[in-house]
Symmetry: C2
Subunit: 343 residues, 2 copies
């Protein structure tokens, strides 16, 4: 269990609210929690029109409370991030059943009068994962500890999954390692973090410094990357994160079937080497000795042989271990990390 989550006012166990999610993507926050923190999830609550499931027992808020749930997570992304009436009713019912409620939607729970009233009358806590904590601007001063940052050729190529899988692999080896979340889903999984794309622009690198403070125990902070230096909409977030992270190691994440940059058909995906070199060059500003330690390949769109060949081809290109964190594990990448940072 992550200390942050245990201490939070919206601590697990969780009921995952899927609402009327039309597909897996719409329920990706719930899916991430069910996959990475199954021990925290007592059930799912689905609307009548819901077309997906994360494989948990269906229950309502009252049943979940009886089963030990402490918090309902609104784990669904509506179009525009606005709560529909059914969602508002479900949130109010959860509060009335004695649950806290946490949400990563753009529209804040705290902005809805009926929800605020229900929280007050039940003395329950509301948590909006898109509200950053108070931050300072980045100072850029070298801090103690070892940090790995996942960087990507594009948005949504598996940086969060790769980060969590790497945390798991290092922990399995007896090393101290902590996932540091920079997005809504990651924050629910970690029990804390900063939604870095929601901070004021001046504070991006300061936010990255905040989530990964100096550590003296010899362990690793595994920082969840965001966006891509090559995505014209979001590269500023990626660069500020890269500078604030002061990463000792970069793990490049890539989805090989991607036809173009996410949401931008007129932008090609960068070459892996170009992307990696640009990230290393930018990272050196605050972390001169930064090293690339591997490639995490999201091969979910490929069959097994194809995936294996894709990894081998990238290994030959970049002379770095390449694995799919979900289907192949991360042992060879962790081996390289340990050999690069031995002693």
């Amino acid at each position: 269990m992550v200390a942050g989550a245990a201490n939070a006012q919206w601590a697990p166990p969780y009921l995952l609210y899927l609402g009327n999610a039309r597909d897996d993507l719409a329920a990706k926050t719930a899916r991430g929690l069910a996959y990475w923190r199954p021990q925290w999830c007592v059930g799912q609550l689905r609307g009548s029109q819901c077309r997906t499931s994360v494989g948990l027992t269906d229950m309502d808020a009252r049943q979940a409370r009886l089963a030990g749930a402490n918090t309902m997570i609104v784990g669904v992304a509506n179009a525009g991030g606005v709560m529909d009436e059914e969602t508002v009713r479900a949130v109010v019912a959860a509060l009335d059943a004695g649950l806290n409620v946490a949400s990563g939607l753009h529209q804040r729970l705290a902005s809805h009068p009926a929800i605020v009233a229900a929280a007050q009358r039940n003395d329950r806590h509301l948590y909006d994962a898109r509200n950053p904590p108070p931050l300072q601007v980045g100072h850029g001063q070298r801090r103690a500890g070892k940090r790995l940052l996942t960087v990507g050729t594009d948005c949504s190529v598996g940086k969060m999954y790769a980060s969590l899988a790497f945390e798991k692999e290092l922990r399995a080896r007896g090393l101290a390692a902590d996932f540091r979340a920079t997005g809504q889903t990651g924050i629910f999984i970690a029990g804390g973090g900063v939604p870095i794309d929601a901070v004021i622009a001046d504070f991006i690198s300061g936010a990255a410094e905040w989530i990964s403070p100096a550590r003296e125990d010899g362990g690793w902070d595994i920082i969840e990357g965001q966006g891509s230096l090559f995505h014209p909409s979001y590269a500023g977030v990626s660069l500020g994160l890269l500078h604030g992270a002061q990463a000792d190691a970069l793990l490049l994440c890539h989805e090989p079937t991607r036809q173009h940059m996410r949401g931008l058909p007129h932008y090609p995906v960068p070459h892996l080497r170009t992307c990696l070199e640009a990230n290393l060059a930018a990272a050196r500003l605050t972390s001169p000795g930064v090293l690339a330690i591997g490639v995490a390949l999201n091969t979910s769109g490929m069959d097994r042989d194809e995936a294996q060949r894709a990894c081998e081809s990238i290994e030959n290109q970049l002379d770095l271990p390449c694995q799919d964190p979900v289907t192949m594990g991360m042992d060879r990448i962790a081996d390289r990390l340990q050999s690069c940072f031995a002693g």
Copy 2:
């Protein structure tokens, strides 16, 4: 006159409020307005402890109103950007005298009950230059028109002055050219713009697209740069601006006596060539044909001969025209722009 300013609810003429500014830097917004838009400034209002002046006639709000002023600009930066009691009293008095009030401080005018009440009872307008307009995320699609962006080796090296001087030079040549503001002082000078360091991180490049929409008249948008790709605190803002600007031309700004990056004694100023190449490489993502057209050197810390030698040395290094926009004009840089973009 810039259309934006004429149409704004906080239009000139201006009374410039200097409060108890201790030095020139504390009054830099007022100074920028008095220097670049003297025709808009009817007077200055100084507190009893003020240790600087922008050379205008001293007057109070009532006198300024009689002299034709429409808006008082809070042109002073207090420590922390918070209004002290004297500032609040001066703002209320300005509203009671019939002036609108605009401010670039962190603490919003609209957050202060006494100021809001005074604005309401006098039916006057409050404008906080740190409130961005509603924005979209950047789309990265190539848009019509020609754009120049000033980029810098560091923060506060003269990007705004260089941008405004270049606007003036192009206009003197009969070309259409418009300064596009991205900071508080620039916004008051332009009469509009986006405080790009105050937008939510996801919207940086979208903000840059917003301030410089497609233009079809053959003229130039001269976009005020912010920060530096080599400043560990703010590079994310610089990169998002670079991508959103889709600049056809970059003008590199530099202050040659700078000992280290602003506020960061442990970070050296980058080499000019390194800095320029990094900016060009990043700019090519959204503007593949981008060209460097010159260097604007802030030689305010040097004598004339020294300044001349510094420019010559940079010209030889980079094979680009180099001038101090304030003391030397920008004719040779404008010549190069016109020859690069002829026809």
